[in-house]
């Protein structure tokens, strides 16, 4: 009887197996990575849309239903009334609105958040988003027409990354007519 060799894999077999595993694993992991990335993107887009929708609908309902006049500062004085429509295309940026209880309210950009400012300032957007290009102005073309308020802003997810997979940004714009002017 000669020496009994234990059967085992040859070098070639092992190399082939490792090569196949090395090909399949990266493919599987990259698919999962893209899946995860896509889920994050949707989550961010959803957050941005939720906050943007909230702000625009709040501004629309308060300005449309509660504002009775427009002022250039929170001081109740007839000289401070703006957007009277005495000249065509009369407009004013960052106006203050007077409500039916003779209280002022306004909307402004507080850092990267939109804030509602009445008796005290309240942030309407969270730290997860940042707002840029916020603009609010009133215009009135004729003295017998009601003024309208133009609002526009860009809201994006608060991230330092600039890669398109990580960013989520939406543009909002609306024009509101004062119903109780």
């Amino acid at each position: 009887m000669g020496i009994v060799y234990k059967k085992s894999f040859t070098l070639i077999e092992t190399i082939v197996v490792i090569a196949v595993i090395g090909l399949i694993l990266p493919v599987i992991f990259s698919i999962f990575f893209v899946l995860l990335q896509q889920q994050t993107k949707i989550y961010r887009l959803n957050t941005v849309k939720k906050e943007g929708d909230f702000v625009i609908s709040l501004m629309e309902s308060t300005i449309k239903n509660r504002a009775v006049n427009i002022y250039n500062s929170a001081v109740l004085n007839d000289a401070n009334i703006v957007c009277k429509g005495e000249t065509p295309g009369d407009s004013y940026n960052n106006p203050y609105f007077l409500d039916d209880n003779n209280k002022f309210f306004s909307y402004k950009l507080n850092g990267t958040k939109i804030a509602s400012d009445s008796a005290n300032s309240v942030d309407l957007t969270s730290i997860y988003t940042k707002v840029s290009g916020f603009s609010i102005s009133c215009t009135r073309n004729r003295i017998y027409s009601t003024p309208s308020v133009l609002v526009s802003f860009t809201i994006q997810y608060n991230t330092t990354s600039t890669r398109p997979e990580d960013t989520a940004s939406l543009f909002y714009q609306t024009k509101i007519k004062l119903r109780n002017y």
Binding site: K7, I31, F32, L35, K49, G52, F171, T174
Partner: protein, 142 residues
């Protein structure tokens, strides 16, 4: 004496088949859900565009009913939020251009007192047309 002879060809074949079936189904499911997520993402953006144009149409209506009702064509392209006759020919909405936004008007009454609008934001997802539709009705007296 018991001799270990290794796997037979049949055994190896069955194992490889089962394993590859498993992997193929896993990858198929994953890519399918990935595609769905992509559609979902575009749908969120498309909904925003649709709402934006719906706001715009409402402003047009509130600004001046006569001017609004004078748009007696049926199809308009609202890619740039202005009255452009005919349905959109290019997917130029968004950065980079990916969506298109069409408005279909139907006018009723003489003189016009009711206008029905159908806003469609559509895009191509791997060659398949997807869309978000918003319908609204505008009356003269409201």
């Amino acid at each position: 004496m018991k001799k270990f002879t290794g796997f037979t060809l049949i055994e190896v074949l069955v194992f490889v088949t089962v394993l590859s079936l498993f992997f193929i189904s896993a990858v198929t499911i994953t890519t399918f859900s990935l595609r769905n997520l992509k559609i979902q993402e575009h749908k969120i953006i498309a909904t925003r565009y649709a709402e934006e144009s719906s706001e715009w149409v409402k402003q047009e209506k509130e600004d001046d009913w006569q001017v609004f009702a004078s748009h007696n064509g049926t199809n308009y392209c609202l890619n740039s939020l202005s009255w452009t006759n005919g349905l959109c020919s290019t997917y130029s909405l968004g950065t980079p251009g990916f969506f298109k936004r069409d408005l279909i008007l139907s006018i009723s009454g003489n003189p016009t007192d009711k206008i029905t609008t159908v806003l469609t934001v559509s895009w191509l997802e791997n060659g398949v047309n997807q869309n978000v539709i918003l319908k609204s009705v505008y009356n003269l007296w409201e």
